[in-house]
Amino acid sequence: MNNILAIAHKELKAYFSTPIGYIVIGFFALLFGYFFYVMVVIFNQQSLQLGGLEGGNVDMNQQLIRPLFLNASVILLFVLPLVTMRTYSEEKRSGTIELLLTSPVTDVQIILGKFLGAMTLYAAMLAITMIHMGLLMSWGNPETKVIATGYLGLLLMGGCFISVGLLISSLTKNQIVSGMITFAVFLLLWVINWPASFAGPTTQSILNYLSITDHFDDFTKGILDTKHLVYYFSVMAFGLFLTARSVDTERWKG
């Protein structure tokens, strides 16, 4: 455990000793803030238009919070490759991987350390957006459960992306290659269920199941379904497992 924390701490420090940590957090906060602003404006207009009608109350959870979380999940597709692309590639390129692999730490500890480091940075990104939720709480009456499940969903989905990103980073020495492939894979995982609407029922359910972002939908509605929890945890575990295999294979190849 100490080894995992030591590596996680080192990873986190590395994010902030280079501009990457600041860029990622700033970029995410900026875009999230922008979406928040736009949606609040739209929400207000709708409230004004419908407010006069009988029973015309607009649901803040449905009309504001849910689309906000869905948009945030799209921003992640662009931001998280920046977080994971250097994790292994940089160590391989600069030779520092030799330090890690010849120190008395196991591969799994290294991988979990790196995962934890990236997750902490990601959690910090999400924490900043809680300012906006605070604003909603103080001026409106959103359901806290929806916000809570939404954040949990974002965290888990991000965890899946990070574990896939780690895997891709472990495959190459080149950060740019690692970042580009990660981005492409994330996009694919996002759009993979788009043909589902006109596919047969079997294909449809398979495609929907594969899409990491599709599983997020229920979280934004305030639904905590074990099906999705199991899915996210298995994707994370599988991604980390494949990373361990990849690091081990790399050893044999030399």
């Binding site: 100490n2 080894n3 030591a6 590596i7 701490h9 080192k10 420090k13 590395a14 000793s17 280079t18 600069s94 030779g95 520092t96 991987i97 030799e98 330090l99 890690l100 692999l101 010849t102 120190s103 008395p104 730490v105 196991t106 050893r251 044999w252 190849k253 030399g254």
Partner: protein, 322 residues
Amino acid sequence: MIEVQHLTKRYGPVTAVDDISFTVERGEILGFLGPNGAGKTTTMRVLTGYMPPTEGKAIVAGYDVFEQPIEAKRRTGYLPETPPLYPDMTVREYLSFVSKIKGIPRGERKARVDGMMRKTHISDMANRHCGKLSKGYRQRVGLAQALMHNPDVLILDEPTAGLDPKQIIETRQLIKSLAGDHTIILSTHILPEVSQTCQRVVIINRGKVVAVDTPDNLTSRLRGSETMYLQVDATGADAAAVLQHVAGVTRVAIADTKGSAVGYEVDSEAGQDVRRELAAAVVGRGWGLLEMRPMRMSLEEIFLHVTTEDVTASAAAEEVAQ
């Protein structure tokens, strides 16, 4: 302390290390000598647990590096060819990270890091970023990293590469001072380094061990015969003919001429000391014996001898002819 048994490492079709075996005793400094691409780094990487061997095994400090890697790594310090530094960390941050992953208890870390910086003379660079250090300092930070957990076994891949002469001498002294407490393997392709720092040498070429011995033994063993250099002022007389008739002499050749003084290379049968007879022969005729010294095969010659197949073959042929 270190036992390498029939170690083979293949990268696809390329065999980098081909069935090598050797042992290193506790407290010994072993020089690992070979041309670039001979398989030195690969062997060291296997010994440090960085990569598994294709065949054979390596036992370091009593632990098989493949079966019990963590135990073996706890007792091994490794300085790779390029010191594995994180450019964005300061020297102190880097070493304190290293102290954590090498399992130094929390309370001892600070003292250990400070001690290592003093030992390797990098204390004044403690707050400098690793990426901004000169080559010499990087190497020393790398060494501090390898020594951090006070390992039984120290594996150094070209520890003096890229250093200036003063730093090379300092590094060698540091390495020598570490012997005894630590068992050291160091690789190099600089030959004087081996004769100055190592007690034993393994010469490796194209993945195979071609010689294992002390530097002194190597020099004498590879000489088929003893060679003396004599400078004689025979005032025009034919000294070569006289020298040739001394018992035990097999060959006399003129090496150089300076005025009336002529330098000769005199070969004699191995193990036979002909110095007294040679001196008597020269002085007895009233000639001037200006110089007489044994000519030893330098490590460079041995190295070329054992790493170049053609030379080895022709040398073998010579021996047969003799």
